[in-house]
């Protein structure tokens, strides 16, 4: 658990969050991941500006990989949109779990719009880890600083990958794309302190590929609902038993 911190102002909290982004394990991970995505975007003929805008607007590495490779290989637009939206379902429960940590009773809806848009795996994992130690008044500012730091990292390294692409050997490009699943796995496992989190992780790892292999529609949604509910039920049963 990180030590509780106090900030004199919202601005200081914002910069505190920004600093956490740059010292987070996600800094090198996002850097590497977006070098890979930048190279992918270059290879499929997108412009550097388009890539940067996609990092800011979409702000989800798996969705961007899907978007770029689907559009680049000439998939139908509706097919690409469905693939993107299926990969993004995870953002829904993440926002639901994050916002109560950020909000006070009198927080205005518009102050939650930015953190909502910023919600992505890296930001979510780091927010759940760091926010409980922050004073509630400054959590939104801290979270925005953290997110701007992570998004800035992604956008900058996207450019690096874009302009490196021509010289990037395929094995190295594959290695960079492997950063996303690896870092998601380790950081989720690190944050999984409670039984419910560990079970949800385990069930998801098994259910996801099984449902995909059997060609079940909306496989990720079912993975979440079935795996998450099972994990929740086991935790509840244990709580009532003890």
């Amino acid at each position: 658990m990180p030590a509780p911190s106090t900030f004199p102002s919202a601005t200081a909290a914002f910069f505190g969050g920004l600093k956490s982004a740059l010292t987070s394990v996600f800094f090198p991970v996002i850097g590497g991941t977006y070098i890979g995505i930048g190279a992918l975007a270059h290879d499929f003929g997108f412009s550097a500006g388009w890539l940067a805008l996609s990092s800011i607007l979409v702000w989800a590495a798996p969705a961007q990989v899907i978007l770029i490779s689907a559009l680049g290989t000439g998939s139908a637009l509706i097919e690409a949109a469905i693939a993107v939206t299926l990969s993004a379902i995870r953002l829904f429960p993440m926002v639901v779990a994050l916002l109560p940590l950020l909000r006070r009773q009198d927080t205005r809806l518009r102050d939650l719009l930015l953190p909502t848009h910023f919600t992505a795996v890296s930001m979510w994992v780091e927010s759940l880890r760091l926010l409980p130690a922050q004073p509630r008044d400054y959590r939104i500012a801290f979270c925005n600083g953290l997110s701007v730091g992570l998004m800035g990292t992604a956008t900058s390294f996207g450019f690096v990958g874009f302009y490196l692409a021509a010289g990037l050997p395929p094995l190295l490009a594959g290695t960079l794309l492997f950063l996303t699943p690896l870092s998601f796995l380790m950081s989720t496992a690190r944050n999984a302190q409670m039984l419910i989190d560990r079970l949800a992780l385990l069930f998801g790892l098994v259910l996801g590929p099984v449902l995909t292999a059997f060609d079940v529609g909306l496989d990720l949604m079912w993975t979440g609902v079935v795996g998450g509910t099972l994990a929740y039920a086991v935790q509840r049963l244990r709580e009532t038993a003890t």
């Binding site: 798996p62 916002l99 109560p100 385990l202 590929p209």
Partner: protein, 113 residues
């Protein structure tokens, strides 16, 4: 209709931004008024974790782009190596990522197609 006929930026909004963002906005609408200790928030967190785990497994088992050129067994073995490194080295995310990447690179050099 395909990607070439529309402006790439319009495609980004329609096919990338909107289908992705809708889930965040739905979360915002549902999360209003929910307490962080409420059961639905605990359940949401479990569902989010399970979906994320599903995404992780799919990215490793059914990858796109250059990662698909590295054989399946190498990808799975590398992920396992990374997880072992993570467990053994004080649950360090950095150690896990580094261990997994090193294993993938070595496996890729030995067995790449």
């Amino acid at each position: 209709m395909n990607a070439v006929e529309l402006s790439p930026y319009l495609v980004l909004i329609l096919v990338g931004f909107l289908p992705n963002e809708i889930w965040r906005v739905l979360g915002l609408l549902l999360a209003r008024g929910l307490d962080e200790d409420s059961e639905i928030v605990a359940w949401s967190r479990a569902v989010a974790t399970a979906i994320l785990a599903g995404v992780i497994a799919k990215l490793i088992l059914f990858p796109s782009g250059a990662l698909a050129n590295i054989p399946l067994t190498v990808r799975v073995a590398a992920a396992v190596c990374g997880f072992i490194a993570f467990i053994c080295i004080k649950r360090s995310v950095f150690a896990g990522v580094l261990g997994g990447e090193a294993a993938l690179l070595i496996g890729g050099l030995l067995f790449a197609r």
